[in-house]
Subunit: 354 residues, 2 copies
């Protein structure tokens, strides 16, 4: 039986993508070779890379607007460093909305001066700060669009007077926003886009080339752009599978199409959390993430029963992060609403039992 | 028809590894989830990571000798920077044996002073320099064990008075050497170990912690060691497939077992190059790589005929690198001797036609 996979990442991928990926491991494009053993300089793979990069800009509505899409390695944790190396000359402003924002700040601080424009640490990051100023004379402003651990999400992005950099690892391609507001968008693939091992970076070219630092080649966005995202051997399989997921998304109606489905799933999930007296949501209502719903079971005595019921229903990956406790339902793009229905049913059944 | 895959990397993998990998994309360990959608913190994957790291040390004979194996991201190109960040305080010595050595030198120079202990650039890198001194008061000595582009290989490593760092990307696990001579060994997975996207680093722990630099977390070997190679989300699928390849190698008799097979393949290949008057080897005989044989076709008029014959025989990936021209037969661990026989047969047939 296929499980209901609520894993926070790496996480569920569309079943058709999994089938095609598995087939390409056996034989890619009927070329008589596995996708794992072809050269990244072969025509077959160059086409994959170009198609993946083009789909990113097309889905984001960024074609012809001066942006380039790159598929790199090392995850958001590498981007924390790379962003600062490419953009930080004197001082940057960071919005601190959780564990990942804090890590981004920590790494940038190793290079130069960082200012926290606002933080929600005072309430264990259960909300998104809203009134803050972004100083005009800073190099850039950095934020995290969605906080996987805490289940919060920025609903309205500021109009930043300086380049806005956003870690969208956990909600990229999930909702329709104006991507042209950003100077750099980055995201590990392993939530909404593909398997672990690829990292998407979308860069507005005009913001580069303004620091005096001698940037190491592997950290230099310009070098990756000039080399068509092939400066070094790319993570071939992860890029291929990401391309398949982007094609799947396009066929579903793109970001607008998936946003509707994601909203339906989130509405169903949060209704149950709010209406069922056994559970309590963690995040402030207006900042609730449509990707990760965090909630606790009020009566600890029911824990064992609840978890046995989850297991019996084939529900996997709903344990909360240790910083919050309780449960977390990650409802990424590929999660079908049937899985949310299955979870809600178990929650509701628990109520009738209690 | 399955091709004879002489690709320089990403390159051929054992057929049984490909079959198991493809199956795990559909369902990993009968868990009802794809290897692409499980959490890297799940017991199933933690076991894979631990098994892969243990196999590396076991195969290299480094168990209990103070070494740790890591599976990171970013390839050798990232290690060029990471090695220098972790070890370079004042000055390091580098042996320049080709394009990749030169890149390693270039990146380290961005951080501090680098001295080329020797170079074979004078002869387009067709040999390995042999008499050079490694200064005792430098931080470390860096070399490249095998030069994919030029087809040369270090046959005897120096006794370095300072930590020896080696880029073994293109011949790791192919021959029996004393790995305990090295302070750091690194290698992109995509030649002898697995698909692109994972990078193996083997570090002798005692050489770390000696620089005053504030190392960025993602670049810090110590942080990766302390986190069991899970500081950030690892490239799950590439690590899994690497583990399968390491298991395959162990079952073949480990490094000693594969070395014998690799020597047989290389002997067959170089005999044909030396005996067939139409072809000429590029690398100095005593420095010839058992992984990558580089050679040229003396009579340009036969080029088209030769390449048509290669294609008809299902031989793929033998085009030489632009720096050398001609042809390159990469004979990595997983290439069966039958593929070398097929190539040699075409070369010999060309001779009888000419």
């Amino acid at each position: 039986m296929k499980k209901h996979n609520f894993s926070a990442g790496p996480s569920i991928l569309p079943q058709e993508v999994i089938l095609k990926s598995s087939q390409a491991v056996l034989d890619f494009n009927n070329e008589g070779l596995s996708i794992l053993e072809i050269s990244h300089r072969s025509k077959g793979f160059i086409d994959v890379m170009e198609q993946a990069r083009a789909l990113v800009l097309e889905l984001m509505g960024l074609e012809g607007k001066g942006y380039k899409a790159l598929f790199l390695q090392g995850g958001a944790s590498t981007q924390f460093l790379m962003v600062a190396m490419n953009l930080l000359e004197k001082r940057a402003g960071y919005l601190n909305t959780g564990a990942w924002s804090a890590k981004a700040i920590k790494e940038a601080k190793k290079l130069d001066d960082i200012y926290e424009v606002a933080s929600s640490k005072d309430a264990n990051f259960n909300y998104i700060p809203k009134s803050y100023d972004i100083p005009e004379d800073y190099d850039y402003f950095h934020c995290t669009s969605n906080n996987t651990i805490f289940g919060t999400q920025i609903k309205s992005f500021p109009n930043s007077p300086i380049p806005m950099v956003c870690d969208m690892s956990s909600d990229i391609f999930s909702r329709d926003i104006d991507f042209s507001k950003f100077g750099i968008i980055y995201a590990g693939a392993q939530k909404n886009m593909g398997p672990a091992g690829a990292t998407l970076v979308v860069v507005k070219e005009e913001i580069l080339g303004k620091v005096s630092r001698n940037i190491p080649s592997i950290m230099d966005y310009k070098i990756h752009i000039d080399n068509g995202s092939m400066y070094n051997t790319p993570p071939v399989f992860s890029v291929y599978t990401s391309m398949l997921t982007l094609e799947w998304l396009k066929n579903l109606g793109g970001i607008k199409g998936i946003e509707k489905l994601n909203e339906d799933k989130a509405r169903l999930m949060y209704s149950e959390i709010d209406l069922n007296p056994l559970f309590k949501g963690f995040a402030a209502k207006e900042d609730r993430s449509i990707m990760n719903a965090t909630f606790t079971l009020e009566n600890e005595n029911l824990k064992e029963t609840f978890e046995t019921m989850l297991k019996e229903a084939g529900i996997s990956g709903v344990n909360g992060h240790r910083s919050v406790g309780g449960y977390r339902a990650s409802m990424y793009n590929a999660l079908p609403i049937e899985s949310v229905k299955a979870l809600v049913e178990v929650m509701s059944e628990l109520e009738s039992k209690a």
